[in-house]
C-alpha cells in the first residue's frame, strides 16, 4: 500500500508537469485547430531562458532558502516566460499567421519544422551567447536551495519538494486560467473565437490578438513547466522538449483537445498511469523502459473507445 501512495505522488507530480505543457497544446488547438508540435520546444526554451536568467544574475550558488524560493525562483520563472512567450509569438507571427488560410497540413508540417529548428538553434548557438555554456550536451540546472534535491516524509512516503512545487504551480495556474477564461474580456473573446471565429470578428473581436494571447498563455505555462523540469531532473538539454511535448500532447488528447480542464485531467491521469504501470505491471513489461509504451497504449485505448477524450464534448455543436 505504501508503494501505491508513493507512486501516486510520483505520478501526480509527473502528471502536473505534463498538464502544464498540455494546456498550451489545447488552448492553441481550441482556437486555430493547429497541433503546435513546436510547443515542446517552447517548453525547452523556457527552461533555457530560466537558466540564462540565473547566469545573468551572476550564477548565484550559496543562498538561504528564503532568498532562493522568493528571489531566485520567481526571477527564473519570469525570465523563462519572457523567452518562451517571445519565441512563441515570433513563431506565430512569422510562421503560422501567413499560413492561416492554407490547407491544414501546411501549418502542421511547419510546426514540425519549427520544432527541429528551435532544437538546432539552441544546440548550435546557445553556447555562443556570452557567458552561456555549450548546449550540445545536457547542462546542470541551477540549484534552488530548499527545493532542488530536497524531500520530506509523510509516513513512509517520500515527497520531493520539486513535486510539491510542480503540483502547486499547476493548481495556481488552473485557478488563474479559470479566472482568465471566465471573468476577463480577453478570456471571453477567446472562448467566442474558439466557437466561431467569423462571428467573433463580427462582434469586434480582434481575432489575431486572441490567437496571440492563446500562444502567450500556453508559452507562459510551458516556461513554469521548464523550471519544474529543471528542478526535478537537475539538468536540461535541447532535446528535452521532444518526449515531454509528445506526452503533453497525449495528455491533451486524452482529456479532450480544446478543453483546458481536460488538459489538466489528462496530464494527471497520464502521469499516474505511467508511474503505476512501472510498479504494478509484473515482469519486464513493468520495467521503466516500458513506461512510454503504457502511456501511448492508454492514448490508443481512449482514442478507440472515447475519441472525444475524457472531458471532450460528445458532438461538435456549431451552427
Amino acid at each position: 500500500m505504501d508503494l501505491f501512495w508513493q507512486q501516486l505522488i510520483n505520478g501526480l507530480s509527473l502528471g502536473a508537469l505534463y498538464a502544464l505543457i498540455a494546456v498550451g497544446y489545447t488552448v492553441v488547438y481550441g482556437i486555430v485547430q493547429l497541433i503546435n508540435f513546436a510547443h515542446g520546444e517552447i517548453f525547452m526554451v523556457g527552461a533555457f531562458g530560466a537558466f540564462a536568467t540565473w547566469v545573468v544574475m551572476g550564477s548565484p550558488k550559496q543562498m538561504s532558502w528564503q532568498a532562493a524560493v522568493f528571489g531566485l525562483l520567481p526571477a527564473m520563472i519570469v525570465g523563462g516566460m519572457i523567452v518562451s512567450v517571445s519565441v512563441a509569438l515570433l513563431t506565430e507571427r512569422l510562421a503560422y499567421r501567413p499560413l492561416r488560410d492554407a490547407p491544414r497540413l501546411a501549418p502542421l508540417i511547419t510546426a514540425i519544422g519549427i520544432s527541429v529548428f528551435l532544437q538546432e538553434v539552441v544546440r548550435l548557438f546557445f553556447g555562443t551567447i556570452p557567458g552561456m555554456p555549450d548546449a550540445k550536451r545536457a547542462i546542470p540546472f541551477p540549484t534552488v536551495t530548499g527545493i532542488s534535491g530536497r524531500s520530506f516524509q509523510i509516513g513512509t512516503v517520500t515527497v520531493q519538494n520539486s513535486a510539491v512545487f510542480t503540483i502547486a504551480a499547476l493548481a495556481v495556474c488552473t485557478v488563474f486560467l479559470w479566472f482568465f477564461v471566465n471573468r476577463t474580456k480577453t478570456g471571453r473573446a477567446m472562448v467566442a473565437t474558439s466557437q466561431d471565429p467569423d462571428t467573433a470578428r463580427l462582434m469586434g473581436i480582434n481575432v489575431d490578438r486572441v490567437i496571440m494571447s492563446a500562444f502567450a498563455v500556453g508559452a507562459a505555462l510551458a516556461a513554469i513547466a521548464g523550471v519544474a523540469h529543471g528542478m526535478r531532473y537537475g539538468n536540461i538539454d535541447f532535446r528535452m522538449g521532444f518526449l515531454a511535448g509528445l506526452k503533453a500532447f497525449t495528455a491533451a488528447v486524452l482529456g479532450g483537445i480544446g478543453n483546458i480542464n481536460g488538459a489538466v485531467v489528462g496530464g494527471l491521469v497520464l502521469g499516474v498511469v505511467e508511474s503505476m504501470a512501472t510498479t504494478f505491471i509484473p515482469g519486464q513489461f513493468g520495467s521503466p523502459a516500458w513506461k512510454d509504451v503504457w502511456a501511448f497504449v492508454l492514448l490508443i485505448l481512449v482514442l478507440v473507445f472515447r475519441p472525444q477524450g475524457l472531458l471532450g464534448a460528445k458532438v461538435v455543436d456549431r451552427a
Binding site: R188, A192, Q195, D198, R201, L202, M203, G204, N206, R318
Partner: protein, 235 residues
C-alpha cells in the same frame, strides 16, 4: 450613409458578387432580395469586412470601408446579425449580449442597453443565464438581433432574420425591425420572405447571380410583376 460601388467579391476564383452598386440612406430600411446564390449574404459579409473586395468600393459616412479589418468595422458603427444566427451556443444569453458590446468602453451604457434588450425581448431576460443553444429558433433570432444591437450600431445588417421561423414569429421580428427604425437605426435587410421585407422597406434591390437587376421603393416592388412572379409566388 452607406455607398457600395461596383463591388466585386469572389470565393476563390468564382465571383459571387459581380459588380453591384447600391446606397442606403440614413434612417431607411433597405432590403436586398434574391434567390439562393444571388450574392446577398456575400454582400453583407463583404461590408462587415469578413470578405475582401476584388474591386470596387464601400463608403460609410464618407469614409472608405473596404480594407478595414472586420473588428474595426464594428467600431465604425456597423453591426451584423449573420445568416443562421450564429450564436455562441454554449454561452449564456447574457454572455452573448455582452460579446455584442465587446468593442464598447462605456460599462454603464452597456448595462442600460442590456436592460433595453431584455425589455424588448422579455423571454431573454427571464432566462438570461441559460445557454443560447437551448432556445427556440425565434428566441435565438431575437438574441441574434439583440446581440447586434449591443454595439449601438448606426447601421444594422440583418441576414435572413425570418429563416425557419413561424409566421407569427416572423411578424414579431418584422415589428422589432420597425421599432428599431423608429429609434433611428438604419437597417439593411436580406430576406427570402419578400412580402414581409418589402412591406417594411423604403427601398428594395433585386439581385440575381451577382448582379442587381432592378430597384425601386418597397411599395412599388410589392406591386411589380417581375417581383410578384419570382418572389411573391403569384402566377
Amino acid at each position: 450613409m452607406l455607398e457600395v460601388k461596383d463591388m466585386v467579391v469572389a470565393y476563390g476564383r468564382v465571383n459571387a458578387v459581380k459588380g453591384i452598386t447600391f446606397t442606403v440612406e440614413k434612417g431607411q430600411v433597405v432590403t436586398l432580395l434574391g434567390t439562393n446564390g444571388a450574392g446577398k449574404s456575400t454582400t453583407l459579409r463583404a461590408i462587415s469586412g469578413l470578405l475582401k473586395l476584388v474591386s470596387g468600393s464601400i463608403t460609410f459616412e464618407g469614409q472608405r470601408l473596404d480594407g478595414v479589418p472586420a473588428h474595426k468595422i464594428v467600431e465604425r458603427g456597423i453591426a451584423q446579425s449573420p445568416e443562421g444566427r450564429r450564436l455562441f451556443r454554449r454561452m449564456s444569453v447574457e454572455d452573448n449580449l455582452k460579446l455584442g458590446a465587446y468593442s464598447r468602453k462605456d460599462p454603464a451604457g452597456v448595462r442600460s442597453d442590456l436592460a433595453r434588450v431584455y425589455d424588448l425581448f422579455p423571454v431573454l431576460g427571464e432566462r438570461r443565464h441559460e445557454a443560447a443553444g437551448l432556445f427556440s429558433g425565434g428566441e435565438q433570432q431575437m438574441l441574434a438581433i439583440g446581440r447586434a444591437m449591443m454595439s449601438q450600431p448606426k447601421l444594422l445588417m440583418l441576414d435572413e432574420p425570418s429563416m425557419g421561423l413561424s409566421p407569427i414569429m416572423t411578424q414579431t421580428i418584422m415589428r422589432t425591425i420597425r421599432t428599431l427604425q423608429s429609434e433611428g437605426v438604419t437597417i439593411l435587410l436580406v430576406e427570402q420572405n419578400a412580402s414581409a421585407a418589402l412591406s417594411l422597406a423604403d427601398r428594395g434591390y433585386v439581385l440575381e447571380v451577382g448582379h442587381i437587376m432592378f430597384s425601386d421603393t418597397g411599395r412599388a416592388l410589392l406591386g411589380d410583376d417581375r417581383v410578384k412572379r419570382a418572389y411573391l409566388g403569384a402566377s
